[in-house]
Structure formats: structure tokens, C-alpha cells
Amino acid sequence: MAQLNQMPEPMRSHLAKLPCPSFNDQPWVSGQSLSHRRVALISTAGLQRRGDRPFEGMAGDYRVIPGDIKARDLVMTHVSTNFDRTGFQRDWNVVFPLDRLQELATESIIGSVAAYHYSFMGATDPSEMEPAARNLAELLKGDRVDAVLLVPV
């Protein structure tokens, strides 16, 4: 149960101290109906292709995950040791629901699945991710993505 007031110490205090920015505005972009959208996944689980650079320190960079990647080729190098990894080990869809997303596209519940997905490493201060995230927006538009599902860990 990931509500701070129901977590035992010391985890509650640890999570309460994590950087958590507030924003003065509330951006909102509308779009076509879900059945016509092209959807990309962006994870903050520190996911990468096997053989790609592992995540290090608190850098705000991201890794590219091709849409045809297989579960055996996707690994996790997030720096934190304070979340469960055994769910991901047993079933990658617990963290990166690409199989489920493809099923929704096959059933025409969504329009299509992006050619590329991405992962940041969520222990990073969010402000460190901002430049990379804004650049990433152009890559997503180039892939004709008009819906992004952000998945934490």
C-alpha cells in the first residue's frame, strides 16, 4: 500500500524526503479519442536494453527502448534498493506493460503502439530530467505519438 501514512518507518520518512516539486501552472493538451491515439511508454524504473549504458549517479538522461524489444533484452539498473524488483523479474509487464499495450492495439482499443519507448531513472531530482524530457518530446512527435503513459516504479 503506497500511501505514506500507511507505511512503516523508516520507509515513510525516506519517501517523504524525496524531491517533490510543485508547479504554478497546470498544462493540459487535448487530443483525439483513445481508439485513434498512438501510445508510447515512458518508465522511470531505470530500464535499458541489455548492453546499453547502466544508469549512474543521479543523471537526468534516458535510455531508448525499441518497440520490438523482447523481455529477455530489457534489464533494470535503477540505483534505489527500496522497491520490489521481484515482480519485474517474474513478469516484465508489472513494470513495462508492452505486451498489454500491444493487445489493446490489436483490439483497436488504442490506435497503435509507438516504435520507441523510453526510460529515465526515477531517483534523480526531477529538475535534472527537464532538458532531456523537453528534447524527448520532439522525438515522440517524430514517431507520431499523441499519448504518453508515464509509469513509475
Binding site: A2, P8, C20, F23, I42, R50, V94, G122, L140, D146
Partner: protein, 245 residues
């Protein structure tokens, strides 16, 4: 997570997200968020439960059809029961090995390291069988013997050689520790006739009963005493969970 939604939406991309810590999402106020009552590390719910994963995914995506926001919606289902694999008979979880019993009266780090090696050797065939069967492993950089020799040496005061030239010592230690835990989990869950452990059961065994857990705590203590800031950060944050320290 919510900050990324702000950045992308500012650039003209509609976003929706899963939220694991409701209080953080309430502060950040991303455009659209679905809060789920699952443990950290499992944003889509349970492994081997595609029906639940689909319901979570759909609930998050359907927020994109809402006319206005910001939205923070609660997923209506509770934490799922663990789902065992098709070849498991749900007899429950038990510790695969417990060499620490043999060394529980010892303070000698060398004897601990010896127990650690035996533990790794006993688990190795189960890891191999699991890999052969599933075709997948979460081990990234360090094989079991490489990780155990490297961490065992560092934890017992030696200065081990880093086999990966492109990794700093701090990164190598962190990745080796992660790989070691991945190896232990995959080996432990490959044994026949037993249900997979919950995350809590696995953590209890690994951190409280295995020699590997004791070695990693020794590695943490040494990191905390090092001058290097990256090693200190390893010791403070990246090796032992805050609820197992």
C-alpha cells in the same frame, strides 16, 4: 514522474500516468493520474496477472478522454493476491539455503566469505535451470561467481580488481549487488514444488538469513568509511534497503 508529465505536456504532448505515492502526485498535480494501491516496484499490480494489468492500463489510458483536469483518480481494486506459476503447487515458500546457521557464532569475515561461496555454488544449478527454462534473467553485468568474488573481497577488506573497465568502483559495487540479488531470487524460485516468495518473504530470507545479505551489509559498512563520495553514497542509499539496515 509527475514532473515529466508537466514537461511533456508543456511541449504539446498529452500524458497520463500511474501514481504509486498519492501524496507526491497531489503535490505535483500532473494533468492525469491513476493512483494504484500496489507496493513500490509493481505499478501494474501482480506478476502473471494479465487481466489486472490490463484493467490498470485501461483505467490510466481512459483518463486521456476526459474533457478537463487535472485528474487524480483512485484505482478501485485492492492489492492482488500473489499468483503462482502454472508449475507451482503452492506449498509455500521456504528458505533455499541457510549457511549462516553454520557461521552464526562466527565473527570471522573470512568464514563468512567461505559460507557465501558455498551458498552461491549451491544455488547456481537452480539459476541455470531457471534461465534455461525461461530464457530470461535480470542479471545485467556480473555473473554469480564474479559478483560474489568481487563483493566478498570488498566486504572483507580487500581491494578487488574491477573486471569491467568502463565502470567506476562505486557503480561496479552497486551493479554487482543488484545482480547478486537477482541471481538469488531466480535460483530460489526455480526449485520445484514451491510457490514463488512474496517480495517480503524474499527480503526476509535474503537480508536476515543468507550469507549474501551479511556480505552486502559488510560492503555497505566499508563504503560508509571510504573517502570517495560515490562510495559513501552507495553505503548510505544504494546497497541495503532502509527497512533492512
Amino acid at each position: 514522474m509527475g514532473a515529466l508529465a508537466h514537461y511533456l505536456e508543456h511541449e504539446g504532448l498529452p500524458t497520463t500516468q500511474i501514481s504509486l505515492i498519492r501524496e507526491h502526485t497531489e503535490t505535483i498535480q500532473p494533468p492525469r493520474a491513476l493512483w494504484v494501491p500496489f507496493e513500490l516496484g509493481r505499478p501494474l499490480g501482480g506478476p502473471g496477472n494479465p487481466a489486472l494489468q490490463r484493467r490498470v492500463l485501461l483505467a490510466a489510458l481512459e483518463l486521456l478522454d476526459a474533457p478537463e483536469g487535472p485528474l487524480l483518480v483512485d484505482f478501485p481494486e485492492e492489492i492482488p493476491e500473489e499468483t503462482a506459476g502454472p508449475d507451482k503447487d503452492l506449498e509455500g515458500w521456504s528458505c533455499p539455503v541457510s549457511f549462516t546457521r553454520q557461521t552464526s557464532q562466527e565473527n570471522d569475515l573470512e568464514k563468512l566469505q567461505s559460507a557465501f561461496r558455498r551458498e552461491v555454488a549451491e544455488l547456481r544449478p537452480w539459476y541455470d535451470l531457471n534461465l534455461e527454462k525461461s530464457g530470461r534473467t535480470a542479471v545485467v553485468e556480473f555473473g554469480p561467481e564474479s559478483a560474489s568474488e568481487f563483493l566478498g573481497a570488498f566486504g572483507t577488506g580487500e581491494q578487488p580488481v574491477i573486471q569491467k573497465a568502463d565502470l567506476s568502483l562505486a557503480t561496479a559495487i552497486r551493479l554487482a549487488a543488484q545482480d547478486l540479488k537477482a541471481f538469488y531470487f531466480e535460483a530460489a524460485t526455480a526449485r520445484p514444488g514451491l510457490a514463488s516468495p512474496s517480495s517480503g518473504e524474499f527480503n526476509e530470507w535474503f537480508w536476515q538469513e543468507s550469507a549474501a545479505g551479511r556480505i552486502l551489509k559488510a560492503v555497505k559498512e566499508r563504503c560508509l568509511k571510504e573517502e570517495d563520495e560515490s562510495l559513501k553514497m552507495n553505503g548510505t542509499l544504494f546497497l541495503v534497503p532502509v527497512d533492512q539496515a
